[in-house]
């Protein structure tokens, strides 16, 4: 008990930093294609290999997508933005500098509203800037030695991919809220089409700055947490880091500024220290590129072209479908799921549709770990299933079983009902079953007639059992009591 109490006095301060690949066809500064999983070093040119004399030219689409993302995150799009060189040596960095943005980024000062179990948290966006991704190092020895060498191999296909960095304010109170922030951000970026934001492809990466607030309210020393390759690990990694920091504070130790990595297998964080740590990036304006001057009209045009954002969609779902805040939030957090819902709700009761989709269907998807777009359940299936329940053809519980079968096979609900005999038992058939149960349980039936309601449940259970669940529980109870005259 004492421990939990103590734990509550520690206030976490969490900020997130996202790196997002923009959905362009070509790289940030050259015409090489952006690809995933192609053979190494098959998408390069003098520019992205940093050959002597090669020069960068900005991809217009990347600027548009960056600005659109900023607008969607309620940022101010700068009317003057500058690219800068960030100088450091690393084998995945072909020019010895990364072209990035420093003191004049394309977007600053936004926010997103994140639904959490403790209510909505407003998370500030400090800045959004554009840059180029590094190439990919393949460490020899991690995946078995090659030719007896001990080093790294480099694939430049990814090098130069348009990258957007989004930095939040340290406004996030809990690891759970961090995960929700990441989810919300991903939903927004996907909704407006600026990124596919597929973590497995490395299109979305997330780092966290984590600290515990000092007793006097000031910020504690923060650590940077890297290498969290799923949102679940974002939550778990931050929790593990907070736990580590709490232990240090309790032992009256000092938290060192460090870069931590999360090991999901051990559920632990560890510090990775590099020997070459003298960082001084020597930022200066990239002389090979000229400044961006984005006009009000240009920005307005991008704003007008933005599709509906999750927050707006959520509001609409609440207003026009009469959904709860929660259901609307769940449905609009996933662009595809929201589209699926809207198709169903056009042809079925919107609330029922929401219950089925945000409840049963989403549970099945989560269990399998797949997206709605990969599922065999289509909107037509869902519409049919809801109508089967509404017309009392199947019971609600049988309908769940039907959905599971649809999920597995993709067959039509009606044919599953027919095949497996899942149609609801009602009318004369139900009467027959009720009479048979009364006959089989004379003692219990007598007690009910005598006014003892305790055994009603037992008898209803017997009816449900006899119909293999294909009866409506309420209806069965009604008939039973009717027949026993009480």
């Amino acid at each position: 008990m004492a421990e939990t109490k103590e734990k509550q006095t520690y206030q976490a301060v969490i900020g997130l930093e996202f790196h997002v690949h923009l959905a362009t066809r070509t790289k940030m500064f050259c015409g090489c294609r952006v690809t995933y999983g192609d053979p190494p070093n098959t998408h390069t040119c003098p520019v992205c290999l940093g050959h002597p004399g090669a020069l960068p030219v900005l991809n217009e689409k990347a600027i548009e997508l960056g600005a659109m993302a900023g607008i969607a995150l309620n940022c101010e799009v700068a009317d003057h933005a500058v690219f800068a060189r960030k100088n450091y040596f690393y084998p995945d960095l072909p020019k010895g500098y990364q072209i990035s943005q420093f003191d004049e980024p394309i977007c600053v000062g936004g926010h997103i509203d994140v639904p959490t179990s403790d209510g909505t948290v407003r998370v500030g966006i400090t800045r959004l800037h554009l840059e180029e991704d590094a190439a990919k190092n393949v460490h020899v020895g991690e995946s078995g030695r090659m030719h007896g060498s001990t080093g790294s191999l480099i694939d430049f296909n990814r090098g130069g991919t348009p990258l957007m960095e989004i930095v939040t304010e340290p406004d996030i109170p809990t690891p759970e809220a961090a995960r929700a922030t990441a989810n919300q951000l991903k939903a927004i970026l996907q909704a407006i089409g600026v990124s596919e934001a597929d973590m497995e492809k490395g299109q979305l990466r997330c780092d966290a700055n984590v600290s515990i607030r000092n007793l006097d309210g000031s910020f504690g020393t923060k650590t940077e947490l890297k290498n969290m390759n799923s949102f679940r690990f974002v939550e778990k990694g931050i929790a593990a880091e907070l736990e580590r920091q709490r232990e240090i504070i309790e032992e009256r130790g000092r938290i060192e500024q460090a870069t931590m990595h999360y090991d999901p297998n051990k559920d632990e964080v560890y510090s990775l220290r590099s020997k070459e740590e003298a960082h001084d990036y020597r930022y200066f304006p990239e002389p090979d590129l000229l400044p961006l001057e984005l006009s009000r009209e240009w920005i307005e045009d991008k704003k007008n072209r933005l599709p509906e954002l999750p927050a707006e969609m959520k509001k609409r779902f609440v207003e026009s479908y009469g959904l709860s805040d929660y259901d609307a939030g769940v449905l609009t957090a996933d662009r595809d799921l929201a589209a699926f819902y809207e198709e169903v709700a056009e042809n079925a009761d919107p609330k029922q549709s929401a219950n089925w989709i945000s409840g049963d269907l989403r549970a099945l998807l989560n269990e399998e770990g797949i997206e709605i777009s990969d599922s065999k359940v289509g909107p037509k299936h869902m519409i049919e299933l809801i109508s089967l329940v509404e017309t009392d053809t199947v019971s609600r519980s049988a309908a769940r079983t039907v959905l599971e079968h649809v999920f597995e096979s993709g067959d039509a609900p009606s044919s599953i009902v027919e095949r497996d005999g899942l149609a609801q038992t009602g009318g004369d058939e139900l009467d027959g079953v009720v009479e048979a149960v009364i006959a089989d349980n004379p003692d219990e039936a007598e007690r009910v007639r005598g006014g003892d309601k305790k055994v009603v449940g037992f008898l209803v259970g017997q009816i449900m059992k006899a119909t293999r669940g294909n009866a409506d529980g309420g209806q069965a109870r009604e008939r039973l009591l009717e027949k026993l005259g009480s």
């Binding site: 003098p46 002597p52 004399g53 020069l55 020019k95 090979d288």
Partner: protein, 487 residues
């Protein structure tokens, strides 16, 4: 050897080939033979490419024969010397550095592509390593000698290009100018060196020294050749963001329009700059008078911050360079030193691959950009740059062309300044203001001092090369100096 052919200007040669009095092949052969004869003394080239020259000259001749002169641009038939800092597909490009000793590019610089696919290239000219220097002594491939006096430097960094043309190893050359690297060797070797407006000629394929200053420029026997070569290489390039979308005028057509009423300003601060020898000053004054006689209105002009240009330049250029040379890390191309860890590999590769001056400037630039010094050095230098641009802007309200010495002295002796960086840097004092402002500047021979050529610099406003060339042409006409092949 056909001395007469070698004595022609590029333009004259082109006209003779066009008229079928000579062939491109004959020209290429003459250049190749001259290279064989004098290269041992001059060392103007890192790499000679006689076969390429002949092969492409044959193709030009073939095209001339088949399509008549229409399909062949006037300049295409004249063999060209290319500074070894321009990327040439299939021909090694060393930038005068050991680190690129065996480096063969996979693409051509845009300026060369603009010249034409059959560019008759006689070789890649020697230069100060990565274009850093004013004497071509900072080359890993040995110093180039001045054809006027083999004990003297040809200037730099485009010293190989200048010496090659001065020695008749080619009719014209491309150099690059960051802080005077076309103009100063042009002056030292008695020829014309033109630095175009920043943005006029694509930098794509020019191995960067200082990106905000670098320009490729013609190094030629006279102004007409400079105009023709500029015509050949200019134009907007979508591969260079800093390439201006400004139409390329016909530079030859206005060359002889005369300078009546042209307002010429003698830049006081540069006439009186530290180290400017009195004879250099008087040669410059004489040219101003010649221009006046030819119809110009001559007055005194002021660029109040001009002498702050040199220190600003020696912050901005090394800063950009320190970053631009970071790509030479032994990973994707170039030399690599063995080491067990990657960072040690970087250090050793760069230690072994770069020469003294490159190291010095990398250090200087890295220092100027580093934490705690940025504002005092780099940011302040960028502000000086703004002031210098303002100075030019206001000077160009009163004058069309500004005149000054190209550099304080004539060619100095080999070994004279190579161990004294500050003395070497001081050579650029008159050249760097135009570089910082991005305005075009040309150096033309004004006369001789102790038997050595002295250059005079003319500058004009952004993209007013026609005016600049017109003034240069007029000055050339009234001067007694004529290009002379040496030795």
């Amino acid at each position: 050897m056909d001395r007469t052919m070698l004595d022609l200007t590029a333009y004259e040669l082109a006209r003779k080939i066009e008229a079928r009095e000579l062939s491109a092949r004959e020209a290429a052969e003459a250049a190749n033979a001259r290279i064989d004869a004098v290269e041992g003394d001059i060392n103007a080239f890192v790499t000679t490419t006689p076969e390429i020259a002949l092969e492409r000259a044959d193709r030009v001749d073939e095209r001339l024969k088949n399509g008549g002169a229409d399909g062949v641009k006037l300049w295409e038939s004249v063999p060209l010397v290319v500074k070894d800092v321009l990327s040439t597909k299939g021909t090694r490009t060393t930038c005068g550095s050991k680190i690129l000793e065996d480096f063969t590019p996979v693409y051509n610089a845009t300026a060369l592509e603009n010249f034409g696919g059959d560019l008759v290239m006689v070789g890649k000219a020697n230069m100060d390593e990565f274009a850093m220097g004013s004497s071509t002594e900072n080359s890993a491939y040995g110093p180039t000698r001045n054809p006027w006096d083999l004990d003297r430097v040809p200037g730099g960094s485009s010293g190989g290009s200048a010496a090659a043309v001065a020695a008749g190893e080619g009719w014209w050359a491309l150099g690059t100018d960051t802080g005077g690297s076309v103009r100063q060797p042009g002056a030292f070797c008695g020829m014309v060196g033109l630095k175009p407006t920043y943005g006029r000629v694509s930098r794509y394929g020019l191995v960067a020294f200082a990106s905000s200053l670098d320009q490729i420029g013609p190094m030629t026997r006279d102004t007409r050749d400079a105009a023709l070569l500029l015509q050949a290489i200019s134009g907007h390039d979508p591969n260079d963001s800093t390439s201006a979308k400004v139409e390329v005028p016909d530079y030859l057509s206005t060359l002889e329009d005369g300078i009546s009423g042209l307002r010429v300003g003698v830049v006081t601060e540069l006439m009186n700059a530290e180290g400017v020898e009195s004879e250099v000053k008087s040669i410059t004054e004489k040219m101003a008078r010649d221009l006046e006689e030819a119809g110009a209105e001559v007055g005194e002009a002021s660029l109040p911050h001009a002498t702050y240009g040199l220190p600003a330049y020696y912050i901005i250029a090394p800063a950009e360079l320190s970053s631009n040379l970071a790509r030479f890390d032994g990973v994707r191309y170039g030399k690599r030193a063995e080491a067990s860890g990657v960072h040690e590999m970087y250090r050793r590769t760069r230690e072994e691959g770069f020469g003294d001056e490159a190291k010095r400037r990398i250090m200087l630039g890295t220092y100027a950009l580093s934490s705690g010094y940025y504002d005092a050095y780099y940011a302040q230098a960028q502000k000086v740059r703004t002031k210098i641009i303002d100075d030019f802007r206001s000077a160009f309200r009163d004058f069309d062309v500004l005149i000054s010495p190209t550099c304080p002295t004539a060619a100095f002796e080999l070994g004279d300044k190579v161990n004294d960086p500050l003395a070497m840097y001081a050579n650029d004092i008159c050249a760097v203001p135009a570089s910082l402002a991005g305005v075009p500047a040309i150096s033309i021979p004004g006369g001789l001092s102790n038997g050595l050529p002295v250059g005079v610099q003319l500058m004009s406003d952004h993209f007013t090369e026609p005016t600049l060339l017109r003034a240069s042409y007029a000055a050339e006409k009234s001067s007694d100096f004529r290009f002379e092949m040496k030795p």
